[in-house]
């Protein structure tokens, strides 16, 4: 019996050794979920013959943790608040922008807002957007005065509100409501923001990134703070007209995601090919259309789009800011967020 056991084990170990340990890859891409549709990847593979292995993550922190742990990819899509950090840690490859002709199509006004990578040495802008208050029109009335963060304080919507689970977004909301910057590094300001959010908690069912979509779609909640594209993705077509969005007038938190190549990348040339392919107006247009992103970074794509974007980035409050790196002060945000989660 011992012998047959050993034989069995040996066989199984051999089997696991023969198992495809990893698909042979010419390019490995690490991206957010819902950021590049399957069709675009297939097109890329068809046109260039490069096989792509595509993994996804749900948050910058996830991505960062995996990369720190040593996971190996060629192309990643961090957000701007992570880029300075990654540059500093020498994780990103300095790009030769002459190899990326499509970069010339970038909206020029953006260059001035670029605090994270002024020369676009390490990162290529990919998508910009903002979280918004999404609501059911038949349950919630919104006008000029009420399109504010104070809607979260309205007891008429008690237990009908869900917020996304993200420290920068939530504290950002608190900060903006109090008139501060969403990238504040002041302990006092963050503390005030925290107190505000704790005050909102009585109305909030949950901080969540997944159930927020389905609960909203089922009308179990009426107000949600989330990226509009994600919220709408779960709605039935017929319901979409009945759902509204607004950007609080005090301003909100915007995100900007970029493409970057890892210094440890094994397929650098393929990476450039991939980036250029994605930036081609017709491909970008396809991507933005697929998920309803607002676009706005590369004007040439606008004419090629088949569906109107859900919102125009230009319509965002002038007070909205792009999420930036707060350096060491991130500790303040984290501690504040923990406190919010724990307070009753």
């Amino acid at each position: 019996m011992k012998k047959s056991l050993f034989v069995l084990i040996t066989l199984l170990l051999i089997l696991s050794g023969c198992a495809p340990k990893s698909i042979s890859k010419d390019l490995s891409v690490f991206n957010w979920q819902d950021y590049i549709p399957e069709s675009v990847l297939t097109d890329f593979q068809a046109q260039t013959g490069i096989k792509v292995v595509y993994d996804t993550y749900g948050s910058n922190e996830d991505m960062y943790a995996k990369l720190l742990g040593g996971a190996n990819y060629d192309v990643v899509f961090p957000s701007t608040d992570f880029v300075p950090r990654m540059i500093q840690k020498d994780m990103l490859l300095k790009l030769d922008t002459t190899k990326i002709p499509e970069l010339a199509n970038l909206e020029p006004s953006l260059a001035s807002k670029n605090t994270w990578d002024p020369k676009d040495d390490f990162s290529i802008p990919y998508n910009i957007g903002s979280s918004a208050i999404v609501y059911w029109k038949d349950k919630v009335t919104v006008d000029e005065a009420s399109s504010s963060w104070s809607i979260l304080d309205n007891t008429a919507y008690a237990n009908r509100i869900m917020l996304m689970d993200d420290p920068r977004e939530i504290l950002g909301a608190g900060l903006k409501f109090n008139g501060f910057s969403a990238n504040s590094t002041s302990a006092d300001e963050i503390a005030k923001a925290k107190t505000t959010v704790i005050g909102w908690k009585k109305n909030i069912v949950k901080f969540d990134n997944d159930l927020i979509k389905s609960a909203f779609a089922k009308k179990e909640i009426w107000v949600a703070l989330n990226y509009p594209e994600n919220q709408f993705a779960e709605l039935e077509e017929a319901d979409k007209a009945n759902v509204g969005i607004f950007f609080p007038k005090e301003g909100g938190v915007m995100f900007l995601d970029v493409m970057a190549v890892l210094k440890s990348a094994k397929n650098v040339d393929n990476a450039y090919t991939f980036i250029n392919f994605i930036l081609k107006p017709e491909n970008l247009a396809k991507i933005y259309d697929e998920y309803g992103y607002s676009g706005g970074l590369y004007p040439k794509t606008m004419s090629l789009r088949k569906a109107a974007p859900r919102y125009d980035v230009a319509s965002l409050s002038k007070k909205s800011e792009v999420r930036g790196d707060v350096g060491e002060n991130l500790k303040l945000y984290d501690a504040a967020y923990d406190e919010i989660k724990v307070s009753k």
Partner: protein, 293 residues
């Protein structure tokens, strides 16, 4: 001869443990004393703040993190108790049945469905527009749907649900070995049915009971997926905190210091277990010694 076999049998275990338990453990321990690198990772400098943070007090005087530990303890104890209470009669029934393997598989089968899917199935059941509400409305018990989800009780239900087999299995293993003739004997001696179960069966399955409690309590204590999905904004357990530290804030040192804390708390329980086992051991060792003479 005997001591050689002992070493031989234990060799694979010892090697594996040293390599894959000890080293990661040391990593966790070391990391808890390092400084935190913003955004994730550690800086190789000695820093006790990961531990100091645990005792942090807010302006209003509450110990945020210690409160979380307390809350988690309460939830874990409740869930464990419930699970064991249900698992005992089930394991008893299976052990006394002729088809015990079949029944065991019945218990295990639902768990071949993926964990995440099972949790989301409970959302479909307990949700406001879920099956439970639909049935209660249809039966006229309710006028309006109640949100059964997003509270402590929903978390408890699903915690019990996900841990039942891990309580039933070890209990079954022990009860199965129990000589039920002893129960008959006890009843012949005049003990009532319940009395014989309480005084004869339970003491003899202590080993399995302890195992079942261990198997149930510890995973529940560190759980994060269940409270994350089923809980509301006021539910925050230790596992969620550690996940948050690792995934959201990249605070490795504190995630590790919290883990060390959990380790210390559980070490106490394990010491008890080992001492108990040692006492059993001594009985055997006496026999071994005699054998060697």
């Amino acid at each position: 001869m005997k001591s050689r076999s002992g070493s031989l049998y234990s060799l694979p275990l010892t090697t594996w443990i040293s390599l894959f338990f000890l080293v990661p453990m040391l990593i966790v321990f070391v990391y808890s004393f390092l400084a935190r690198e913003t955004g994730g990772g550690v800086r190789w400098e000695f820093d006790l703040s990961a531990y100091a943070e645990i005792f942090r007090q807010t302006a209003s005087g509450s110990f945020i993190y210690l409160d979380i530990v307390g809350y988690t303890l309460i939830m874990a104890v409740s869930a464990t108790l419930l699970t064991i209470l249900i698992a005992l009669p089930c394991a008893y029934y299976i052990a006394r049945s002729k088809n015990n393997t079949l029944l065991l598989f019945l218990v295990i089968i639902p768990f071949w469905v993926n964990f995440m899917i099972r949790i989301y199935a409970w959302v479909a059941i307990l949700g406001q527009s879920g099956i439970l509400n639909e049935s209660l409305l249809a039966m006229g018990v309710l006028k309006e749907p109640i949100q059964f989800l997003f509270n402590d009780y929903a978390v408890l239900v699903v915690l019990v649900y996900t841990n039942l087999p891990f309580a039933i299995l070890p209990l079954f293993t022990t009860i199965e070995k129990f000589d039920f003739g002893l129960l008959e004997a006890a009843r012949d001696l005049g003990a009532s049915h319940n009395r014989s179960l309480w005084s004869v069966l339970l003491p003899n399955i202590r080993g399995g009971l302890v195992t079942a409690v261990l198997f149930t309590f510890i995973p529940i204590f560190g759980t994060f997926a269940v409270p994350d999905v089923m809980g509301n904004s006021n539910v925050f357990m230790l596992g969620q905190l550690i996940t948050s530290k690792l995934k959201f804030t990249g605070d490795y040192p504190m995630a590790c210091s919290l883990s060390v804390l959990i380790l210390l708390l559980s070490a106490a329980g394990l010491v008890v277990y080992t001492v108990y086992n040692n006492r059993q051991e001594q009985q055997h060792q006496v026999v071994i010694a005699e054998d060697e003479l």
